[in-house]
């Protein structure tokens, strides 16, 4: 086998989570103009886990997401997806196709497409240009779209432009777009910002049902919401992990109280 083929073989390698953890972040450092956004951050996420990450503004939550999805490259440190995939060497689309899905803080759906088309675009599969020119939805894919719409409760909005949905519905559609990507790891950034109480309950239910089959990482400000879904909580502060544990443990940690909850 020539060298070129060997290199391609490595990038094509699939996710290996035989050591339980799906995401390894080790000694990460990022600074922007001298400001240390991420400071020796080390964090592991297990397969099937639902993890909540909390922390005050500027704690580095979004920057951490940016590193995992390939948007920001760290100054130093390691980021691995399973045992085999080095996230720091992959581009955004490669990371997405390897199985990491991200939901943004501000809901960003494709506004001029219909709800179903949004799911079509997000669906896992061949995403090359020439393939897309000829691609047609097959029965299995149509079924997946119908199923997902049922899961996120938007079956009645199949043909509606996504731009016409309410704020909460857009958030769910975005979660739906993550689901059809069939990711192994879901990164969810502030899913309940701006939601009503009913919408929040529904979102909590949705996120809990998603974990298990895949790993879910939720970044959230709303403590009540975090309490309602989390098994394990990580507190970030000034770019590194301050505390980790169950919600009760974390809430009683004096350091956490000092920087965050005690305010």
């Amino acid at each position: 086998m020539s060298e070129g083929e060997g290199a391609r073989f490595i990038t094509k390698q699939t996710l290996d989570t035989s050591h339980k953890a799906i995401l390894y972040l080790e000694d990460l450092n990022v600074s922007f103009d001298g400001f240390k956004a991420i400071n020796n951050l080390t964090l592991y996420i297990d397969t099937g886990e639902l993890r909540c990450i909390i922390g005050p503004n500027g704690a580095g939550k979004t920057t951490m997401m940016d590193i995992i999805t390939g948007k920001t490259k760290p100054d130093s440190g390691q980021a691995w997806f399973g045992q085999t995939l080095d996230l720091l060497k992959m581009t955004e689309p490669e990371i997405a196709n390897a199985g990491i899905g991200r939901k943004f803080q501000k809901p960003t759906v494709f506004e001029s497409h219909t709800v179903a088309e949004n799911l079509e675009l997000a669906m896992h599969g061949n995403k090359s240009v020439w393939y897309s020119l000829r691609a047609k939805l097959n029965g299995e894919q149509k079924y997946l779209i119908d199923e997902t719409l049922r899961t996120i409760g938007l079956s009645d909005h199949y043909h509606r432009p996504a731009g016409a949905l309410s704020h909460g519905q857009k958030q769910w559609l975005e979660i739906g777009m993550l689901l059809v990507q069939k990711p192994h790891l879901l990164l969810v950034d502030e899913p309940v910002a701006g939601m009503t109480h009913q919408e929040m309950d529904k979102t909590a239910e949705l996120l809990v049902s998603l974990a298990g089959e895949r790993s879910v990482v939720v970044v959230e400000h709303d403590m009540e919401f975090v309490r309602s879904i989390a098994d394990k909580v990580t507190v970030l502060h000034q770019g590194s992990v301050l505390a980790e544990g169950s919600m009760d443990e974390v809430q009683n940690d004096p350091r956490v109280i000092e920087v965050y909850l005690g305010e």
């Binding site: 689309p93 494709f110 675009l121 090359s128």
Partner: protein, 368 residues
């Protein structure tokens, strides 16, 4: 196939229907109906309409990249001009020894510059098929290389528009130089015939007119096919939320380069049909102003509709012909005013106005 392609495209159906009618009627009215008959269409008018049709195709290509992909190209005139030059070079070689200097091998301007032999890049242009190939290949290569460099470095928005403008301006300056070997500021002209048919003959003019109409129809259908496909939905997604599209797993750069290149190829074909009809190609076609005008046609006609681009190109150019005849100095001011008015009051252009009126009457009917 055709029907499914145009299923939700009312404007396209009407536009192509009218186009088909014109392509059939005009040759009859020109060749069969005798001169003096009020229905006779004089040949100069046929050529003028043929020119408009090539402009319309050019506008469609700009609408594809601007309206659907969100790239405001202020340099599409460059691809049009390159296609035109490739065709012009063929027509130049067809002159043979009928030029002023009677040199069977060299075009007049080369004899004038005291060149002894044909430059290497003129080789092959005596063959029609080779010229046609270059009409496609040259704009495609330029668009591919430019797009590959620009999109890979993630240049977007205004910066990209300025770069496209700089591209066409650089070509303008280059083609002005005599040493480039494309006739300097006079460009290529004095064409005699094409495939053995005299360019002055009515029959040839009609054939070029019909070819322009068919090219417009095919170009339109190709763009419509692209937009109706999943690829079309991806590029609209790129237009609306580029980084989101990337996180969903699409290689945005590849899509942009692909669409930009297809658009440049069609623009080159439009240019190749334009040149034999107007009888000249010179560096003025690379002028940045030309490229900006194309954008204005599309804006006036209505972005992201395709047929709006056709409508805009034909209406604006018809007005141009009319008003530069009546009041030559006022045209640029009128074009400017038209652009401002459309931007302010018709953000979706004339096509948007039609849709607005339609929904208005429909809602009236519903309430009544």
């Amino acid at each position: 196939m055709l029907l499914t392609l145009l299923r939700n495209d009312r404007g396209g159906q009407i536009m192509l229907g009218v186009l088909a009618l014109v392509i059939i009627a005009v040759p009859i009215l020109n060749l069969v109906v005798p001169q003096g008959n009020p229905l006779h269409v004089p040949t100069y008018l046929v050529t003028l309409m043929g020119k408009y049709l090539t402009y319309a195709l050019l506008a469609v290509t700009v609408d594809l990249v601007w309206g659907y992909l969100g790239i405001l190209s202020l340099g599409h005139g460059a691809f049009f001009a390159l296609g035109g030059y490739a065709m012009g070079m063929y027509l130049m070689r067809q002159i043979g020894d009928r030029g002023v200097y009677g040199n069977p091998e060299l075009p007049d301007f080369m004899v004038f510059l005291n060149w002894k032999e044909l430059p290497w890049f003129w080789a092959g242009f005596d063959m029609f098929w080779f010229a046609l190939l270059m009409v496609i290949v040259v704009p495609a290569i330029l668009a591919f290389v430019f797009g590959w460099l620009a999109f890979r470095s993630r240049v977007t928005g205004v910066y990209l528009s300025i770069m496209t403008q700089a591209l066409t301006y650089a070509l303008l300056l280059a083609f002005f130089r005599n040493e480039m070997g494309f006739g300097g500021n006079n460009g290529l002209t004095d064409f005699k015939d094409m495939l053995g048919f005299s360019l002055q003959a009515d029959g040839t003019r009609i054939a070029l007119f019909v070819a322009s109409g068919i090219a417009l129809a095919l170009g339109y259908l190709i763009c419509r096919y692209i937009i109706n496909s999943k690829l079309g939905r991806v590029i609209v997604a790129i237009r609306d939320a580029e980084s989101r599209t990337r996180f969903v797993g699409y290689k945005v750069e590849n899509y942009k380069v692909w669409v930009f290149t297809v658009s440049a190829i069609l623009a080159g074909i439009a240019g190749a049909l334009y040149v034999p009809q107007v009888g000249i190609i010179n560096p003025g076609e690379f002028s940045p102003l030309n490229s900006i005008e194309i954008v204005i046609w599309v804006a006036i006609g209505g972005r992201a509709t395709l047929y709006g681009a056709v409508l805009g190109a034909i209406l604006v150019n018809y007005s141009k012909t009319l008003f530069t005849g009546l009041m030559p100095e006022s045209w640029l001011f009128m074009l400017g005013a038209l652009f401002v008015l459309v931007t302010l009051y018709l953000p979706k252009g004339l096509a948007g106005l039609v849709n607005q009126l339609k929904t208005h009457t429909v809602s009236k009917k519903v309430t009544a």
